[in-house]
């Protein structure tokens, strides 16, 4: 099926958010179990222990070929063939992402164990968008534009308003954990997952199922090491109690449910990371806040949440927050200008060097050397045409090997999924 790429990106990111909201609901139920409520460390260990098993099983199932294509390629990620060993060039990214995910999960479990309402848990983590914008301006090729900064701020603050607890709770420690632990680790995790997704493995685009599988494996290794060291220094028993809880049938299936669902949320998120910057993805992921509300109501009906404020002021604040999130997301979606640039170069100049010069220009997403009428076909993406001129055209003019170029703005595009 061929659909508009823009839609695919938003469908992936928002579906991932929807699943994430469901997972948070399940997590708050699981985290509220007697075995975990006072031991978030054991909870984090259990999640990755069971997560590694369940992720391996799902990944193996998705590796089964049907009519020459794996199930995973048909339903989740066309780049997926089968579960494979991690490649040498992926290791450093997996190590960083795994460590960040392990620390992030410990912080997350600490919050889930303390608070019942999922919409509170998700609250200030949306500020991560601003962390990402800052990091991307140093790491990625594309410095955020004014529109991106504005939209991100609108989404981040909208998310804060929308996630003010309907139960009226506001606790300092969870907020502190979010700012000091969850946000920085999530920002680094997202950037490294994106680096993995845009990497090529065996001359094919890297697939999100293997990335997720290996991330869970590395996270499990790190969380085991962290807990072991922590237990040794504090004479604690978190690791052992976590292991005993994880293999107990009462908890194993609950943990398998939460990690199995998380698998789908992350695979879609990683896929969308391959299509857009981590900050834009996180902004879209803020829609989790909106989806969390119905799940909060379901939890209330099921008796998991006991308090539920119907204070009109609180509800109005939430609605304002939701409107801000939607406005921010729309503003992201409507402000992308894409173009092809057809380039001819002077004869006698090495094409590889020119290719590298073109690739170094900010906003360039594809550089191809082609046989035929043009020497290069370059695809660029920019927030405004003015930025396109300032960042791209001016830089093209500086490349002396270029004889002639023609800019062709993309009016509409579709991509096979």
């Amino acid at each position: 099926m061929i659909i508009r790429k823009k839609y695919l990106f938003y469908v992936l990111a928002i579906t991932s958010s929807f699943i994430a909201a469901a997972v948070t609901g399940v997590d708050s139920f699981v985290g509220g179990q007697p075995a975990f409520i006072h031991d978030p460390w054991a909870f984090a260990f259990c999640l990755f222990f069971v997560g590694a098993i369940i992720t391996l099983l799902i990944s193996l199932l998705f590796s089964v070929p049907i009519k020459g294509k794996s199930i995973g390629a048909k339903v989740l990620d066309p780049s997926f063939k089968r579960v494979r060993m991690v490649q040498k060039n992926e290791v450093k990214y997996h190590l960083t992402a795994g460590l960040m995910n392990a620390i992030n999960t410990i912080g997350y479990c600490a919050i889930v164990s303390q608070i019942q309402d999922p919409s509170v848990i998700l609250s200030f983590s949306q500020i991560v968008i601003l962390y990402l914008l800052l990091m991307e301006s140093f790491i990625e090729k594309d410095v955020p534009t004014l529109v991106e900064v504005q939209s991100s701020i609108i989404v981040a603050f909208g998310a804060i308003l929308a996630s003010i607890s309907l139960t009226g709770e506001f606790e300092v420690l969870p907020i502190l954990i979010v700012f000091v632990v969850i946000n920085p680790t999530w920002a680094i995790f997202s950037i490294y997952q994106r680096k993995l997704k845009i990497m090529k493995v065996h001359n094919r685009p890297n697939d999100s199922i293997n990335i997720r599988f290996w991330n869970v494996v590395f996270s499990f290794i790190f969380i085991t090491i962290i807990l072991f060291v922590f237990d040794v220094f504090t004479s604690g028993t978190h690791l052992i109690s976590g292991f005993i809880t994880a293999i107990s049938p009462d908890y194993f299936f609950l943990l398998a449910l939460t990690m199995g669902t998380t698998f789908f949320s992350y695979v879609l998120y990683i896929r969308s990371l391959g299509m857009g910057k981590a900050s834009v993805n996180s902004a879209l992921r803020a829609s989790t806040i909106i989806f969390a509300i119905p799940f909060s109501i379901i939890l209330l009906k099921l008796g998991v949440i006991t308090n539920f404020s119907t204070d009109p002021v609180m509800l109005i604040i939430k609605v304002i927050g939701i409107v801000m999130i939607i406005m921010g997301i729309i503003s992201f979606a409507l402000t992308v200008v894409k173009a092809y640039i057809f380039i001819d170069v002077k004869t006698g100049r090495p094409l590889r060097e020119t290719m590298q010069k073109l690739w170094n220009i900010r906003g360039v997403s594809h550089v191809t050397i082609t046989s035929g009428k043009n020497d290069f076909i370059v695809k660029v993406s920019t927030r405004t045409l003015m930025k396109g001129y300032e960042r791209i055209i001016k830089k093209l003019d500086e490349i002396e090997e270029i004889k002639k170029y023609r800019w062709a703005s993309v009016l509409k595009d579709w991509e096979k999924i």
């Binding site: 997704k197 845009i198 092809y340 290719m355 690739w359 050397i369 035929g372 062709a408 009016l411 991509e415």
Partner: protein
């Protein structure tokens, strides 16, 4: 795997219907409507040149397509 850009010039007023038909062709990975010298850029991904010929043949059969220029990708660097 061979990738190629097929640059298409259209007769005026036929684009919408033509795009619908292009979206049905196997091995077409991307379609972009552009402003400028060409009207449509199609990116094809095929196993061999024979399949590429099939794609260009099918494109040329579509009503409204005036001219196609195929450019095979020899090397690529991409963000995704």
């Amino acid at each position: 795997m061979i990738s190629a850009y097929i640059l298409i010039t259209m007769h005026p007023g036929k684009s919408d219907k033509a795009i619908k038909e292009m979206r049905q062709i196997d091995n077409v990975a991307k379609i972009s409507i552009i402003a400028g010298e060409y009207d449509i850029v199609v990116r094809a991904q095929v196993k061999n040149l024979e399949e590429l010929l099939d794609v260009t043949d099918k494109l040329q059969m579509i009503e409204g397509v005036n001219k196609t220029t195929t450019q095979i990708i020899e090397k690529e660097i991409a963000l995704q």
